[in-house]
Symmetry: C2
Subunit: 702 residues, 2 copies
């Protein structure tokens, strides 16, 4: 049942070092019994180059770290944090005192300090040497040291003799300088504790930008002292104090992560207008928007008072956020308020602005000057790219590579988010194979390609909240982190999934709740902790795509709002089922072996029987909870899938090919069962169908 | 497989209200299918009186709370916290704004304020009325309101129609005024985040004293500004800042929990002497003690400088801790340093002190005067009770009820901890049935009984650390909380376990990690997240008692120290296996039914097969980890138990009684398998033995 660790077919680069890595991983994997985790190199993102050495470094409780060369408080804190993290990964009580360079197990050497405020493109490279006598980590600056320490943490594995790190020589640096995670804290609020856990996880996979979507129609989430009614009337009391934000910025900065704030304007701004209706293009009054979608309210681009307020506000925020980049959103303005306002139409005529788009261009241009006056580079979504913009702005693309390529040809820098929307509930592999330099971007000149700074995973929060966001982001964001850090030719999906599982476990050791939350939330929905049968179902399903969830809600006549609880089964379960993936590859393997793989067969049969028999145990529990009743048909469908799969297996065992009619009936039934119900998809259905289809062939006959 | 909710046989009080409650629970339980949690009253601790009403109160997202009557910031914070907690228990996005008394679902009424500093014996009573139209909570003061709010939170259950609270009339107040949890943060340090989560859990089960064992031979854990070398040299850098402690005290205070500090003296004090060797009875130098046990170092009771330092120190701490009670430990002084010091012997002669005990009495007497001068009542372990002590001191007894009874006869107040040591790894039921007013205490006059203030669950930390302490304390401490709050006749163990399971789930919803930590720590030890087979073993075992763990370590020649990692399987698993208890009652039920209970039989067979077949799947994983290798024989024993049980079942099915010789062999093998290995006990063994024994009877014959 183990994954197949072949070298990715799409691997084209002539990097023999990388091939060495994969070869090592493959042999380690095949040498072990399937139940046991292969003692492999589970680093994620995969380093630029990694050369396996001979032997390994034991990591006992006496493990120590020393800083040789350049030193500074941030570097010391990083070394101490490394020891604490290593303690969490081993259970060792490690002193956080730093040792002597002459005797320490791991010696850190940085050449010089980092920038006072972490800069885009600042060197993050490092060299890590591990051999049986010790380890040495060298980097130009503390930032590179931090990245190397994370690599070391991931190298440590439990072995039959103790914790150990494999001997390796790693020379590593990121492919892209902007590797972000964007969190929408407006549509549902996210507490500081959860944000910090996300920062911990980002650091583990070497992401370096936390982009906070701080305002939208549904909430304004940060204290402004200049304009306190922004948060007082625009947030339902759910906002960050400036002191809290400063603490988060310091926390992230300590981990080599920049914090980029976004205040969306001129659209997506209803929450501003609750406290400051004069800023809008219609008189108001306004209320916090509870629904999802694109709404009419937009800032009035024609009044000087708008720019006066934005100048003061951006000035305040430019001081609070030390980062050089400042995100003004700029997306999805429908222009309705502008069209409906005679004064605005007058203004447009007077200024020869021929469309809403040109009016927004005028607005963006004014805002850019304000942002720039406060010594920041402006970042915005695709829409902000209009003629005449200075070349130092950055385009974040929700539209895709074409849009970025177009910008790069004009000399603009860009970051990709299209394809990286975590809220879409797509499998990690799908995000993983989206490359910022693919598509139209592949046709750019090398100089133009340099303008593609990287990308950002986006976690929009219509259907996520403080208690579910960790499972929505992790571990899938690690696949995007690897895409943005590792060489382009690192594309082996099986290897990615294997290493992602290791990262996922590591993150739980560091305190994230992306896995443990499922049992808590399922137990809450069920009203009992005896959820074994519910868990069987949970592992066979995945959330339907967000589009389906939205469509289904509309069909049911319900308007989705921020008030609707996210306490259903679809909210509790992981976006991607590792168990279902395992079952699918077992079926692939079994069919490919022409039904000879006995281990795969026995595992498949056991799973199918469990599924077939689960419904009768589960139904009473589902019927007892108003939150789970909707899942009853899914449980019945799972039983039906189990039964169909077992019939197929029986025919294979009996060497009796099935009739075409029977297969057609079964496949129709399977496809019916596979349709989203209660926003859940029985993700094991295609594998069961494959099994049924396989009963036609000559292979079944004796 | 559901528990048997009979009325406790030991129930003697004529409380018809209580009988009503139990009757209600029983009927709810029997009316439901076994898979489904009964919609029952899961309140823990059980209220003093509870009268079920007709119907229920629906708890929708529009649920609101209002404060009528007396108000103060602490009360408002409690009401808002209640809404947040209710949000966590339902997934509802509840506004934390308080509503109008005329329209709110739950109306709170307090008559007057609480004491500025929460006092021992302060009124904690409340009356809670829930009916289909709304709920009313009245209490003399905010403290009672907090207790009532916790009751309401526990009443809310998921139902087929929505979240709902049953209609009830509750008049509640605690049996004992001192219901504590003592946490030893000296032997292993516990971080503030974990302490706060423990406070959250204490509040949920209405405990009201957090006793912090802040110093011992192995560490001094609090910043002293008067004597900074206490923490600087005595803690390995692991101590609380005073600012952190103040925050914890405020956090606990907000939840109706007093914080009582303990600084153990004159023994258990090596950590003091690392920075201040002059305080000791031998010249030193001293190092932090790494071993467990009773050690020689003790404060020098003969020098005035000792009392000068203690006066200053206690003065500093008396200001930091607002509570009226101050714990000076006083336990386990072996007197060796005193005996070895000629000056001390001289002093004893000069002062007519005839024994070490009398010398300690002299010391305690002096310290008591200091404590008292700083306006605190002294608390100490049994040893401090010596003739002439003022009557306002409090004895905490690790010795038992006899010791407390003796003290009470002399007019001293006492709290019981004997029988409540959570680190002993005893089942909750064992702690539950220890009553502070049983044994010798039962013979006291009513006036003397009033001197028994309550008790404290104790979590000593030789074999627990920050990452395992939550699972060691919870949910078992809830059983002790009930013993100390509820009427003495509330003693039904099955009811307790059922409600404890609900509390356990509630605590995870509130953020505790006592359950989720097991998977994380097992995964860490295994080096993989694929731990299904390991989990099967984990649920069939329990940690051996702490005595066995200590003895086994000694036998192995190892000295147990604070440096030894707590990362073994015994550390990861829960102290008590709910799955094993379920299996045992199924066997009881099956045997009692004369083998007629088909549901029980099928469940038992399934379990036994799982156990029999688990070892082959598990061994490769165990062999791959140096931390799990020791568990290999336990896994084999589990397989053997499964096989023995299945043979017994087969003989029952075949209506063929087994031969006495076979049974003897089996029982010998089972008892061998049940012996602790790797500090684990196969707790399902007695039930398997019962099954084997049952195959002798006439019942087996056709």
């Amino acid at each position: 049942m183990d994954a197949n660790f072949g070298i990715g077919r799409s691997m084209t680069g002539p990097s023999y070092l990388l091939i060495l890595v994969f070869a090592l991983i493959s042999s380690a994997a095949t040498a072990k019994a399937p139940q046991v985790a292969p003692v492999a190199i589970n680093v994620m993102p995969m380093p630029a180059t990694l050369t396996p050495g001979a032997g390994r470094l034991m990591v006992p409780q006496t493990f120590s770290v020393a800083i040789a060369g350049y030193n500074e408080p941030r570097l010391e804190r990083a070394a101490r944090r490394f020891l604490r993290d290593l303690g969490r990964e081993t259970g060792y009580f490690l002193s956080d005192r730093l040792g002597d360079a002459g005797r320490a197990t791991l010696v850190i050497h940085a050449d010089h300090g980092s920038e006072p405020v972490q800069d885009l493109g600042e060197d993050e490279s490092y060299v890590l040497d591990v051999n049986s006598a010790g380890a040495k980590l060298t980097a130009p600056n503390p930032l590179g040291v931090m990245r190397g320490l994370q690599t070391f943490l991931q190298l440590v594995e439990v072995t039959p003799d103790g914790f150990a790190a494999p001997a390796v020589h790693i020379e590593d640096s990121p492919r892209f300088p902007w590797r972000g995670l964007s969190i929408d804290v407006s549509r549902h609020f996210v507490t500081m504790a959860v944000l910090k856990r996300n920062v911990d996880a980002m650091a583990a996979v070497k992401m370096n930008v936390l982009h906070l979507h701080l305002s939208d129609d549904q909430g304004f989430r940060l204290e402004s002292r200049e304009f306190p009614m922004l948060q007082e009337l625009g947030s339902d009391g759910m906002y960050y104090l400036q002191s809290e934000m400063r603490e988060l910025i310091a926390y992230a900065g300590d981990r080599g992560i920049r914090v980029v704030p976004e205040f969306d304007m001129p659209g997506h701004s209803t929450a501003w207008f609750v406290g400051y209706p004069d800023l809008a293009s219609s008189p108001g009054p306004y209320q916090i928007e509870r629904r999802w979608g694109i709404f009419d309210p937009a800032m009035d681009p024609t009044r000087e008072s708008t720019y006066k307020m934005l100048d003061k506000f951006i000035g305040e925020m430019a001081t609070l956020f030390p980062d050089r980049y400042f995100h003004i959103g700029g997306d999805e303005v429908n222009g309705k308020q502008w069209d409906a306002n005679p004064k605005i139409r007058e203004f447009m005529q007077a200024h020869n602005l021929k469309s809403d788009q040109e009016l927004q261009q005028y607005f963006t241009d004014r805002v850019e000057k304000i942002v720039s006056r406060h010594h920041k580079f402006m970042v915005g979504w695709d829409e902000i790219l209009t003629p005449g913009m200075p070349k130092d702005i950055v385009i974040q693309s929700w539209r895709g590579q074409d849009s970025l390529a177009e910008a790069a040809r004009q000399g603009y820098r860009g970051i990709l988010s299209s394809g990286y929307y975590l809220d879409a509930m797509a499998p990690a592999a799908q995000h993983y194979l989206v490359d910022p330099l693919a598509g139209a971007d592949a046709t750019l000149t090398p100089a133009q390609q340099k303008l593609i700074l990287g990308g950002e995973a986006c976690m929009w929060e219509e259907f996520a909240s403080d208690e579910t966001i960790e499972s929505r982001i992790w571990p899938r964001a690690a696949a995007i982190a690897e895409r943005l850090w590792s060489p382009q030719q690192v594309q082996d999906v099986n290897s990615m999934y294997r290493r992602m599982a290791a990262v996922s476990a590591q993150l739980e050791e560091l305190g994230l709740t992306h896995r443990s939350s499922t049992a808590v939330l399922l137990g809450r929905a069920a009203g009992t902790d005896d959820i074994a049968a519910l868990d069987v179902l949970a592992q066979a399903v995945q959330p339907a795509s967000i589009t389906i969830r939205e469509t289904e809600a509309e069909k049911a006549g319900g308007i989705q709002t921020s008030d609707i609880p996210l306490n259903r089964m679809v909210d509790a379960i992981a976006p991607e089922s590792a168990a279902a993936r395992k079952f699918s590859s077992a079926v692939d393997q079994f069919v490919a072996s022409k039904f000879q793989d006995a281990a795969a067969k026995s595992y498949i049969r056991e799973q199918l029987m469990t599924w077939r028999d689960n419904d009768s145990a589960l139904q009473p529990l589902l019927q007892n909870s108003f939150l789970l009743k909707e899942v009853a048909p899914v449980s019945q469908n799972l039983a039906a899938l189990g039964a169909a799969g077992l019939q197929a297996l029986d025919s294979i065992d009996a060497h009796k090919p099935t009739a075409a009619e029977w297969r057609q009936q079964q496949i129709a039934a399977i496809q019916q069962a596979a349709k989203p119900t209660a926003d859940l998809v029985l993700v094991i259905a295609p594998a069961v169908q494959k099994l049924v289809e396989a009963t036609s062939g000559a292979a079944v006959a004796p």
